[in-house]
Amino acid sequence: MNLILNPTLDEAPPLRTHRGIVTSHDFLTTPPAAAMMQEGLDDGPDFLSEEDRGPRAVNVDLQTDATLQVDISDALSERDKVKFTVHTKSTLPNFKQNEFSVVRQHEEFIWLHDSFVENEEYAGYIIPPAPPRPDFDASREKLQKLGEGEGSMTKEEFTKMKQELEAEYLAIFKKTVAMHEVFLCRVAAHPVLRKDLNFHVFLEYNQDLSVRGKNKREKMEDFFKNVVKSADGVLVAGVKDVDDFFEHEKTFLLEYHNRVKDASAKSDRMIRSHKSAADDINRIASTLYTLGTQDSTDVCKFFLKVSELFEKTRKIEARVAADEDLKLADLLKYYLRESQAAKDLLYRRGRALVDYENANKALDKARAKNKDVLQAETSQQVCCQKFEKISESAKQELIDFKTRRVAAFRKNLVELAELELKHAKGNLQLLQSCLGVLKGDT
């Protein structure tokens, strides 16, 4: 399907200006923007945009603001790829211009992320998790099935379903744009990572980066690497840490990560059921409509009114499910990935610690044998430095992680509650007015 989805054209311009404003506290700026887009779809009041502009203005970190702003200003969805237009505004001297854009694809984001991971210098930082691959398969399948089943349903049903599926596609599309943007913004906000050369290349180099997706062999290699890493991780985790802070963090993160994983999966299931229920209400509405149009008796008029009501409540229910998805499910998913990144950091530190301890042992051995002492000493020094460097930055990173997490949860839970209330009140109003009319008639 060749669908050109241009979010900025659909929605109010405000989306652009505040997308780049991000601090290390405010990671989830864009998913609310996605929600905003969804709201715009259904011509509800642009509730979130006002909401977001407020607190964001407070959270703005002026330092990051002026020097480097990154956002995804445009996106194009083609058959099986999505092309993101990454737009940068910067006053840093390393860039040739102050403002420029490039087109990037998902694989290039992954390349950037991997380059961070593999860079030893960044071992002591929580690497912002990579954005998930854009996955339109499910949506595409549904649209295809709809196309095939076109003959079997009425024209109205078909157009209705088509609209819904298109809306779903649009929603997924916007979400993936938001995820990619969040990744870039996190990198841009990080005091060290933003200076990375690869990052600058990513932002500026306006030719194709020639980053091909990993072929099968490389994927297999990755797989094995992961296996080794997790085995090693277990070993490393077993080593008791002298530092209480890190020991506590280790246990905490492990437990937290598992529970977030669980909560994320369960929230997905819950929201899916909610969507199915909303779909059912849709079908009820159309069947009632058919019943209502069969005759013009007053019971038929009644049916028509109820059908209309159900149409409207279904829209609201669908929005409730979508908002829950955005505020709750996405939040949990993101923190699943971030907590994994934090765990990775701890693993790297643990690895460094083990290396350091091994180097110490080797040094002792060498001193005892009085052989290769210098070599052992230098390697011990290196390990020591590495370990201490990692430890230092890791501590700060983990504290930041906590702060960010609490702030994000707060923001999203508040927004979730407010949205639930807004929708429930909307439903209530619809029901009250409809019941008023219906009871008045009978």
Binding site: Y256, Q294, T313, R410, A417, N427, T442
Partner: protein, 531 residues
Amino acid sequence: MSQTDMAANSQRNPPPFPGSEDQDPLSEMADGDSDEGEDIFVGNRNPVAARTESFQPNTANGEEPADLFSEEDSGPAARSSNSPPGYKSSGVHSDDDSDLFAEASMELAGGGPSTAAKPSEAEAGPSPTTRKSTTQPMSMEQLEEDEVKDNFELDVAVTNPEKIGDGMNAYMAYKVSTVTTLPMFRNRTFSVWRRFSDFLGLYEKLSLKHSLNGCIIPPPPEKSVVGMTKVKVGKEDSSSADFVERRRAALERYLQRVVSHPSLLQDPDVREFLERDELPRAVSTQALSGAGFLKMINKASDAVNKMTIKINESDTWFDDKLQEVESEELQLRKLHTVVESLVNHRKELCGNTAVFAKSIAMLGTSEDNTALSRALSQLAEVEDKMEALHQAQAASDFFIFAELLADYIRLLGAVRGCFEQRMKAWQRWQESQSTLQKKREAEAKLLWANKPDKLQQAKEEITEWEGKVTQYERDFDRISVTVRKEVLRFEKEKSKDFKSQLVKYLESFLQSQQRLIKFWEAFLPEAKAIA
């Protein structure tokens, strides 16, 4: 409470039994609940004269007393005003409407001085409607007007399902409680214990007697071997509790529909069902009995028959109606499937929400920031409450909406059934006509052959068949009138039913949204308090 209300409010608790028998009937009439102050306390203490005041409440309740007065010709009403005790045992059976009519006209003559209005006013609800079924010459408009006066004083409720016995011989007994002021019953309030097969038995009896007249007999809820087996085996889980509740509600609605049907209420079987302490076991309703098989075979042959007949008539009303009924049934079935799917999805949502709530609670405990931890556990509580909400909503979806649809799908089937009966009556008439024709031809042939003795027989047969033709034609006309009336009545009831049930459903939805608002409003400050 009008009969239609009764049919609709299946979840209603049994009405509070009225106080002592000495309660002032007038004040009872003024009570909003009691039906339209129609004077049913005939044969009771209060002098007939006092009844004049009762006309006021009548009009106040939007009745059309004018109509009552106009329906002079039929006065089976008069019967009961003269002999209430004898009424029950008088053996008046509403099945044979023509007899009632005959009896009534005699009585009216004897009823005398009390204004004709009085006896008809004095009569219980059944009378206006029994009248309707007997007076054929009435115009269609009058028929349709009559439908408005659906009022009498009888409320029935089915409660307290109890498991009797054990193992595979166990069964559920239901308490059937009646509150009535109709004179044909011995008491004002009474209750009996009935089991499911009793209800089915009642349906069989009514069906046998009345379906031939073209009445729409309300069908009972379906048998469910699986459901009952679970109950018998003693599985004490929510699904068997649901099943019992569903059945109880369905039985209640079934009975309410039966008693709100004017002719059926007159049937002694119905009275017996409501009143008699011990009913003989209805064996022919067992699924695997010989009678059961016979029924199945009959049904199958009926199905084949009805495909082939088409009545030629100038009045397309019946044809049109039948088509309407069929297409409506189709739509209702579709709607029912979707509503069931909604119920399932909501139940799923319910389960998933509960699971999610636990998961969030766990997350909350591992969160080390205290404010966030508290907020998360509050969120878990909110989600728990949402689960209860979804559960209630699913129940409402089911008991109010889905069951309504299921009931009407069955009822529409019964409506189709009465059209079929009319079809059969027409068929009989046509067949008798062709038999008559054949007999006449035979006679003509005999005339030719000149066999005097056989001729005599042939002439007798012709007279016999002429009589039959006339009778069947009359039957057909009568059944046509009945069917028409029944369908109109059914449509009114259906309209009321649907409206009231849908309104109820929407109200429950409204309530759930209100509670939802409360929950989230309680949560919001907690979320804001995170620091």
